[in-house]
C-alpha cells in the first residue's frame, strides 16, 4: 500500500472533507470510570476549500475534537470521517498537515533536519525533500537559523518551523491549532495570508484560535464550543450580521453636506443614527510602519515578511505581482504532472477586501475605501493550482 496514493481527488467545494456525527469523547480514569465529557454529541461538516474556525474558551473541547480528527484520540461514541475514511487510516494522513498548539518537534534537530525527517515520513524522494525544505525554510524566514536546533529557537521561530513541517506534503487539509500564538504581528499577518492562499487553492483549513480577530479575518464558517457542545455554528456573515442596522461609508465630505445627510437620516432613525470617522486597525497600521522601516534599513532579526507572501500568494497567471513571479520560478524545475484541480468559488467567498485593508498603505486619516469587489472577479485558480501542483509534485 502506498500511503501517499491519494483517494479519489476532490473536485468541488461541496465535497465533505470532515464529517462528524454524534461525536462524543469521555475521558476515563484508571478504573474505567467516566471522568470528563470533553466533547458531547457534536455534529458538523467541513467542506473542501473552506476555512473553518473552531472557537471556544479553554477546555471547551476544541483540541479534543482536533485530536479526534487526527486519530490521536478515539471517539467514545459517534463517528468522524476524514476524506470519507477513518482518521486512523494511513492514506488519509498523507493528505493532512497539522500544526499543533505548541512546538512538539524534536529539539535536537535543526530546521533542515526537521523537514527532511517529516519529508521522509511522507516518502518523498531525497531531491524533492531537499527542494521543499529549502523553499519552506526560506518561506518561514529561518534561512539564517539553519544551523541552530529547534531547542534554541524562540517560541515564534518554533511556530515557523512547525508551520513548515505542516506544509511539507502540500496537504489538502491543514489543521492549525493556535497558529498565531507567539508570532509577531508580521508573522500573524503572513499566517493569515497563507491561510487565505491555501483556501484559494482549494485546500481545506481548520483553524482553532483564541484570537477572535484572527478567526474573523480568515474564516468562512465557525463553530463555537462551550462545555463540549456546539453552541453556535454558521458562516461569519450569518453569525455577525445585525439585520436591523445599516452602515454607509463615504469619502470625507464637507460639514454642511454631512449635516444635511444626518438630518434626513434622523428623520427615520432618530437617535440611533451615528456619525464617526473610520479608523484602521492597529495591525494594519503596524504593518505599514514596519514596511516603511524595512524599505529604509535591513534588520538582523528573523527575516519573515516577504518570503511567506511570495511563496504562498498563488495568483492568476496574468498577474504581474511579485508572488506570482516567485511561484513561476519555483514551478519551473518540475513539469506539472498532475491534472489541475478544478476549484469552485466557495459558497461564502474569502473576505479578500478585509485582508487587503489590513495591508493597505494609506494615511490613517483617509477614509476607508469601500470593499473592493475582488472576490467576485473571475480568477484563473486552475493555473495557480497547476503551478503549485507542479512545484510540490502533487498527483491529482
Amino acid at each position: 500500500m502506498d500511503p501517499n496514493a491519494p483517494h479519489a481527488a476532490p473536485t468541488t467545494s461541496s465535497e465533505v472533507v470532515i464529517r462528524s456525527v454524534g461525536l462524543t469523547k469521555v475521558f476515563k480514569d484508571f478504573w474505567g470510570r467516566p471522568k470528563a465529557r470533553a466533547v458531547n454529541n457534536v455534529d458538523f461538516e467541513v467542506r473542501r476549500g473552506e476555512v473553518f474556525g473552531l472557537l471556544g474558551p479553554n477546555g471547551s473541547g476544541k483540541s479534543t475534537t482536533i485530536k479526534m480528527i487526527l486519530g490521536l484520540l478515539y471517539p467514545t461514541k459517534g463517528a468522524i470521517s476524514v476524506f470519507g475514511e477513518s482518521p486512523r487510516d494511513v492514506r488519509t494522513k498523507a493528505r493532512i498537515g497539522y500544526l499543533p498548539e505548541e512546538s512538539y518537534l524534536y529539539r535536537f534537530l535543526n530546521p533542515g533536519e526537521t523537514l527532511d525527517f517529516f519529508g521522509n515520513l511522507f516518502q518523498l524522494d531525497a531531491r524533492e525533500r531537499q527542494r521543499r525544505s529549502e523553499q519552506l525554510i526560506e518561506m518561514v524566514g529561518l534561512n539564517q537559523a539553519r544551523t541552530r536546533t529547534v531547542g534554541e529557537f524562540s517560541k515564534g521561530m518554533q511556530r515557523r518551523i512547525g508551520l513548515a513541517q505542516a506544509l511539507i506534503n502540500d496537504p489538502d487539509l491543514i489543521i492549525l491549532d493556535e497558529p498565531t500564538a507567539g508570532l509577531d504581528p508580521i508573522g500573524c499577518h503572513e499566517i493569515k495570508q497563507l491561510i487565505l492562499t491555501l483556501a484559494r487553492r482549494g485546500k481545506t483549513v481548520i483553524l482553532s484560535s483564541h484570537l477572535l480577530a484572527d478567526v474573523e479575518d480568515v474564516c468562512d464558517r465557525v463553530v463555537i464550543y462551550y462545555g463540549g457542545r456546539i453552541q453556535a455554528q454558521g458562516t461569519l456573515k450569518e453569525l455577525l450580521a445585525e439585520p436591523d442596522e445599516v452602515q454607509i461609508t463615504a469619502p470625507n465630505l464637507p460639514r454642511e453636506t454631512l449635516d444635511q445627510v444626518l438630518k434626513i437620516l434622523r428623520k427615520e432613525g432618530g437617535d440611533r443614527v451615528r456619525l464617526d470617522t473610520p479608523t484602521r486597525n492597529l495591525e494594519s497600521y503596524f504593518l505599514g510602519v514596519v514596511e516603511r522601516a524595512r524599505a529604509a534599513a535591513e534588520t538582523s532579526g528573523a527575516t519573515s515578511g516577504h518570503q511567506v507572501a511570495e511563496f504562498i500568494a498563488g495568483q492568476a497567471e496574468a498577474s504581474s505581482s511579485q508572488p506570482e513571479r516567485v511561484l513561476d520560478r519555483l514551478a519551473r524545475p518540475t513539469a506539472p504532472t498532475a491534472a489541475p484541480v478544478e476549484v469552485q468559488q466557495p459558497a461564502a467567498p474569502v473576505d479578500q477586501a478585509r485582508l487587503e485593508s489590513l495591508s493597505r498603505k494609506t494615511e490613517p486619516t483617509a477614509p476607508a475605501a469601500p470593499a473592493a469587489p475582488e472576490a467576485s472577479k473571475p480568477v484563473d485558480l486552475s493555473m495557480a493550482n497547476d503551478k503549485l501542483s507542479g512545484l510540490l509534485g502533487k498527483k491529482a
Binding site: L70, G71, E102, Y104, N120, L121
Partner: protein, 598 residues
C-alpha cells in the same frame, strides 16, 4: 576561465565566496584542513579513519603500495566533499547562503553581487545542494527515518560519547587496575570474563534506559503526536526505534570488541612462554566439545521395574506409587553411571563420527568436573589415573590430581582415536572416598575446531542478540507506560531474568506455600502451588532458552561458538523472545490514544 562561487554572508554583512568543484587543499591536507576549518568532529573521524586504515594494513601485513592507495582514496573523498565541508564550516560560524554567481574568482563574485546592490538576481538564488540518495525502499523510508532519528538523538544528547568513554575505560582500564596473577587463567579471567561481563552489563542497562526513553519521552513531550499524524504506520515507528538502538549497540560492540581483541593479543605477550602456550592452546582458540552419547536407560528401567513389582505386587498398587518407583529406578541407574567408588573405574566412549578424519595430529584435551564426599566447598585435590585412546590398542596412561567442583582442563595428546572414530577414556578413582562425575559436564573432550577471531566475533553477535531482546523489553514497557514506570517495569523483568535460581528452586520444591523443611518440598498440592510451578517453570524454560547461550563462558574457556548455535540464538533470543515482546509492544502502541491525558 570562470567558476561558480557560492556567496555566504553573516549578520555583520561579511561575505565569503566558496568555489564549486574539487578541493585540492582539503585532499592534500586531510584532517589538518578540517581542524583549520573548525570541523572538529569531522577532523577526529578523519584521524580515526587514517589510524584504522594504517592499523588494518599493519595487521594484514599489506605492502606500502596498498597503504598509499588507501590514503589517496581518503584524500580524494575529502577533496570531493570539500565544498560541503566548507559550507558546514561557514554555517557553524553563523554564515548563511545568499546566492551562486559565476565569476573568475571569489572576489569577482562578491563584486558582482555588490554591483547589483547586494540583492541577488533571481537566477543567482538557486542553491545546488549535495543530496544523499535514498538507499532504502519507499515503503520503509519512514522506518529508516525513525531509526536515523534515534541515532541522532543518542549523539546529540551525548549518550554516545559518554557510553563510549565508559566502555573503552572498562576495556582499557580494567586490565590495568586489576592485576592478574601471571597465569593464563588469571589473564583470561580479567581480560575476557570481567571485561566482557562489564561490557554486557553496561550496554544492557544503557539499552533498557534508551529503549524506555526514546519511546516514552516522545509520547510524554507530545512529539509523537506530530509524528503519528504523518502517514507512517505505528509498527514502523516502533521498529525504527528498535533498529536505531541496535545500530548503536552494533557500533559499540564493534568498537569495544576490536579494542578488546587487540588488547588481548598485545597483553598476551607479557605472559611467560609456558603460560602463553597455555593461553594459545586453551583460550585463544575455538575448541569444539564432544560428550558421551547419553545412554538409553529405558530398557533397564523397565526390567528392574518389573522385578520390583513382582516382588512387591501387593504393596505397590497405586499409580502414583508406581510412577515414583519408576523414577527412583531411573535416578538410581543415572547415579550409578556417575558414581565411582574408591579403587573402581568408569569408561566414557566418545564418538567423533565424521570429525575423526580431521583429528590427525590435532591435540585433544579433557575438560572434567567432579564432586567428592568431602565437606562442600573443600578444594582438596583428588588423584585419578587416566587411560585414554583405543580399547584395542595400548592406551596412553597418566596420573594427575586436581580439586573438585570446578572444571579442569588438561592435554591428552594426539592421534588417540580408534579406527572407528571412538575415543575411550577410562578413569580410576585412586582416592579413599567415592567421586561423582555429573552427566551434563562431568567429562568433555575438547578438540581444535577453528580460530579465535571468528569465534570472538560470533560471541559478540550473541551479546548483540541479548541486547536486541533488552531493547524489545524496554520498548514494550514504554509502549504504554511513562518513562519512569517503563524503566521500573523493564528493570523488574531483567531482575526476574537474572534470578533464575529462585525460579528453579520453586519448581524443584513444587510450590511456594507449605514447604516441609525436612523434605525441602511442599507438603500438599494446592491450586496456588500448581499455578506457581506452571508459571515459574514456564518462565524458567524461557530464560534457559535465552541464557543458555553464554558467550562469555564459551570465550573464556576457548570453546567453539558454532554457527548453528549462533542461528539458534538469533531464532530463540531475537526471534521468539524478542519477537514476542515486539509483537505485544506494537499491538499496545498501535491501539494507544497518544493524546490521552497521562
Amino acid at each position: 576561465m570562470t567558476s561558480h562561487f557560492e556567496i555566504y554572508e553573516n549578520d555583520a554583512r561579511e561575505q565569503v565566496a566558496l568555489r564549486r568543484g574539487f578541493y585540492w587543499i582539503a585532499a592534500l591536507l586531510g584532517w589538518i584542513w578540517l581542524f583549520a576549518k573548525g570541523l572538529w568532529v569531522e577532523g577526529i573521524v578523519m584521524v580515526m579513519l587514517n589510524a584504522l586504515g594504517l592499523l588494518l594494513l599493519y595487521l594484514g601485513q599489506a605492502g606500502w603500495g596498498l597503504g598509499a592507495v588507501f590514503q589517496v582514496g581518503l584524500g580524494l573523498g575529502i577533496g570531493f566533499a570539500g565544498r560541503r565541508l566548507a559550507q558546514l564550516s561557514l554555517e557553524h560560524r553563523g554564515y548563511y547562503y545568499r546566492c551562486t554567481i559565476e565569476a573568475r574568482d571569489g572576489a569577482g563574485a562578491i563584486a558582482k553581487l555588490a554591483a547589483v546592490g547586494g540583492n541577488p538576481l533571481p537566477e543567482w538564488r538557486a542553491r545546488r545542494m549535495f543530496v544523499v540518495p535514498d538507499v532504502v525502499p519507499r515503503s520503509v523510508r519512514g522506518l529508516a527515518a525513525v531509526m536515523l532519528l534515534t541515532l541522532k538523538a543518542a549523539f546529540r544528547f551525548r549518550l554516545v560519547v559518554v557510553l563510549l568513554v565508559l566502555l573503552l575505560a572498562v576495556v582499557i582500564l580494567l586490565p590495568v587496575v586489576i592485576k592478574h596473577d601471571g597465569s593464563a587463567q588469571g589473564f583470561t579471567q580479567i581480560l575476557i570474563t570481567y571485561t566482557l561481563t562489564s561490557i554486557t552489563s553496561l550496554l544492557g542497562f544503557a539499552t533498557l534506559w534508551l529503549a524506555c526513553g526514546t519511546l516514552a519521552r516522545d509520547v510524554e513531550d507530545a512529539t509523537m503526536q506530530v509524528v503519528c499524524t504523518k502517514p507512517i504506520p505505528r509498527w514502523q515507528i516502533w521498529l525504527g526505534k528498535w533498529a536505531g538502538i541496535m545500530v548503536l549497540n552494533g557500533a559499540f560492540l564493534a568498537i569495544t570488541g576490536t579494542a578488546l581483541f587487540l588488547l588481548l593479543n598485545w597483553k598476551a605477550s607479557g605472559l611467560s612462554p609456558a603460560q602463553q602456550q597455555v593461553l594459545r592452546n586453551e583460550v585463544l582458540v575455538a575448541r569444539g566439545t564432544l560428550k558421551e552419547t547419553p545412554p538409553d536407560y529405558e530398557a533397564d528401567v523397565e526390567k528392574l521395574y518389573q522385578e520390583r513389582l513382582s516382588q512387591n505386587a501387593s504393596s505397590i498398587t497405586d499409580a502414583k506409587d508406581r510412577k515414583f518407583l519408576r523414577d527412583q529406578i531411573l535416578e538410581g541407574l543415572k547415579t550409578g553411571d556417575q558414581y565411582i567408588p574408591p579403587g573402581q573405574y568408569r569408561i566414557w566412549r566418545i564418538r567423533f563420527g565424521p570429525l575423526a578424519g580431521l583429528m590427525k595430529d590435532k591435540p585433544l584435551q579433557l575438560r572434567v568436573k567432579y564432586y567428592s564426599q568431602d565437606s562442600p566447598g573443600s578444594s582438596t585435590p583428588h588423584r585419578f589415573e587416566w587411560n585414554v585412546g583405543s580399547e584395542t590398542r595400548k592406551p596412553k596412561t597418566f596420573v594427575n590430581s586436581f580439586g573438585p567442583e570446578s572444571p579442569t582442563t588438561f592435554n591428552i595428546g594426539t592421534n588417540l582415536l580408534a579406527d572407528d572414530g571412538v575415543l575411550s577414556v577410562l578413569v580410576f578413582n585412586l582416592n579413599e572416598r567415592p567421586v561423582l562425575f555429573p552427566p551434563e559436564d562431568g567429562l568433555e573432550v575438547l578438540y581444535p575446531a577453528g580460530f579465535f577471531g571468528p569465534n570472538f566475533a560470533r560471541g559478540f553477535v550473541i551479546i548483540a542478540c541479548w541486547l536486541a531482546l533488552l531493547a524489545a523489553i524496554g520498548l514494550f514497557a514504554a509502549s504504554k507506560l511513562q518513562f519512569s514506570v517503563a524503566a521500573f517495569v523493564s528493570m523488574g523483568i531483567l531482575i526476574v531474568g537474572l534470578s533464575s535460581g529462585t525460579l528453579k528452586q520453586v519448581v524443584e520444591q513444587k510450590g511456594i506455600v507449605g514447604i516441609d523443611h525436612n523434605t525441602g518440598q511442599v507438603s500438599a498440592e494446592t491450586f496456588i502451588n500448581r499455578t506457581a510451578v506452571a508459571f515459574y517453570g514456564g518462565v524458567q524454560k524461557l530464560l534457559d532458552l535465552i541464557t543458555g547461550y553464554d558467550p562469555v563462558d564459551a570465550l573464556s574457556t576457548g570453546r567453539m561458538i558454532t554457527w548453528g548455535r549462533l542461528v539458534q540464538a538469533l531464532l530463540l533470543v531475537v526471534g521468539v523472545a524478542g519477537g514476542g515482546f515486539a509483537s505485544l509492544g506494537i499491538w499496545i502502541f498501535t491501539r494507544r490514544e497518544l493524546a490521552a491525558p497521562i
